[in-house]
Amino acid sequence: MHSQSVSLITSRLGDETHIAADADTWREVCTKLTAAAPDEACCFLLTRPSRGITRTTVILREIIWPKPGDVQATPGSLELSADYISRAIDAAIDAGAMVGLCLVHTHPKSEKFGEGIARFSSRDDWYENRLFPTITLDRPGAISASVVIGSAGDVDARIWWRERGECVTQDVQAIRAVGPELTIIETPSSPWKDHPDPAVMDRSTRLWGGEGRRRLQNLRIGIAGAGGTGSLTIFGLATMGVGKLLVWDKDIAKKQNRHRTAGITSDQIGKPKVTAMKVMAESVATAEPFIIEVYEDWATTAEALTRLKDCDLIFCCIDNFAARVPLNDLAYAHLIPTIDMASWVHADRNQQIDALMTHAHVWSPGIPCAWCRETISSHILMREAQGTQRGIEDRIPYGLPLEETDGVEPSVLPLNMLGVSLALIEFMQVALKITTRTPNDLKFFLPEWELDESDRPARQACDCILNVAMGDTLVINPVMME
């Protein structure tokens, strides 16, 4: 009686649509639902939007499991009780105006139906076309979703929202499961294409396989900052075969940048740094097609923070602490793994180096954030804001002179290169899973001459735990730099 076909009303919220969940949540849903095979199984999750410029992501967060009796399941059907649906809708309403619902269900393997295919059936269409008008009713700020999981772990998905009084839908192209590593599961609507001439990447493909090559070709990576570390990162990613780069930097290339910045040729002096980066990247890129978009602005403006939500992964290559705050928040709230790197040299009065450090740190759910690692703290941010008057409170009461400094520390290519190398190795792990574990924070430092991994745990009740998958419901303040 439920098999008649229905025409769903389709519309577009963006050129791309994704669903994202933190890896633990996605694993729990998949494990519990597929364990019910050969019967189908389902659950609701609360959703929050993450709206970029070209991509809309629906983020899954809290799971609302059915209680006994809430779901009647067979190998070919599911019946949800009105109580379960009401409980889920109430939970979404209670969580705020931007919170919607996602219905996830399985198509398991069974004797009767064979392999479970991850495609919405006409019965699914019929059922969801009745369910989602109720879920989206009077909730214009929320975006809901539905997902079907096949017996081989394949998926199909779509989003639902209210538009001009009607409940409309759009196909989803990928599901991102984000933890210490980034897993991207393509749906049948995925636009991803493989490299047209894979042989040119043979030596790299031997490490990460054809699937890794395909992933590199289609990833969209944001790079915040095109200076000492940013330029080398752009060079590395373009050479490795990443297909889409977005780069932000407001600086103009100066002759003083040339000794430690890749790609700033003498004819680029006086032009925006990002222009030089575009020329360099296009000259070395191995992806085909290769697209690089450059923005002559800082990556922490309101517009840039919105556009960064279009990215699958971000490299933080900026040289100040204040700008790390919104990027750190973005990584956890919007489930976009971010690799932060920094180099630091301190020379004594005789120009002898007494301390030197470079590090690369992954910010992603399951890994302690920059606040836990104390890369940023309220005190460090205050000291940075003091600028040329840094440390005045320590000196002035004792009549000590306020040492004037321009706050600019030494910077050298080899140190930046080392930091970028650590970051790119972490990138291979996060994006391509070349081994079994993602390191928290790799650091090289003097005077110990040691390469070490941070073993600092996450702080209790830190935002990197509390704010995971909050999406646009978390306010992230832009940082406007002079």
Binding site: L381, D394, P397
Partner: protein, 150 residues
């Protein structure tokens, strides 16, 4: 760079809770990203030779994520103790230094100020999700209750 809406709200809240009208400078102090927040006529310690006048502190553009500067100032550079502190045998205010250009760009202009090093956030670290400018203010004026040789 004018102060953010968040910063303006924080100063408004400070004024409401403290009972003093606090102003914020329209631009950061040159060379820094610190805004001057001050009130024109605040009581000082009765033992000082000048007992009231401007009082304030400097706050980063990204407060409350960044902590306020760990000090405060009064615009009474000639203030002394009416009775010398017997421990230090001095009429100078303790752990206080005169600073030029500290409040540039605020209503106080290029006035010299006395900066109190107070380190109030050393033992209780500033918590960006909990503390406010009013907490910073109450920490600051507690300095007037302590012995001058602390």
């Amino acid at each position: 760079m004018p102060p953010s809406e968040l910063l303006l709200q924080a100063v408004a809240e400070l004024s409401a809770r403290s009972g003093h009208v606090f102003h914020i400078s329209p631009e950061p102090v040159p060379g820094t990203s610190l805004f001057v927040v001050h009130t024109e006529n605040h009581e000082y310690r009765p033992e000082y030779t000048i007992t009231s006048g401007p009082l304030g502190f400097r706050v980063p553009f990204n407060l409350p994520t960044a902590a306020p500067e760990d000090s405060f100032f009064i615009a009474a550079v000639d203030a002394k103790l009416r009775v010398p502190d017997p421990v230090r045998n001095s009429a100078d205010l303790n752990r206080v230094g005169r600073a030029e250009g500290h409040v540039s760009g605020s209503r106080l202009g290029n006035a010299s100020v006395l900066v109190f090093s107070w380190h109030l956030w050393n033992t209780v670290p500033w918590d960006r999700r909990k503390h406010t400018l009013f907490d910073h203010y109450t920490h600051s004026i507690r300095r007037f209750e302590r012995a001058e040789h602390d």
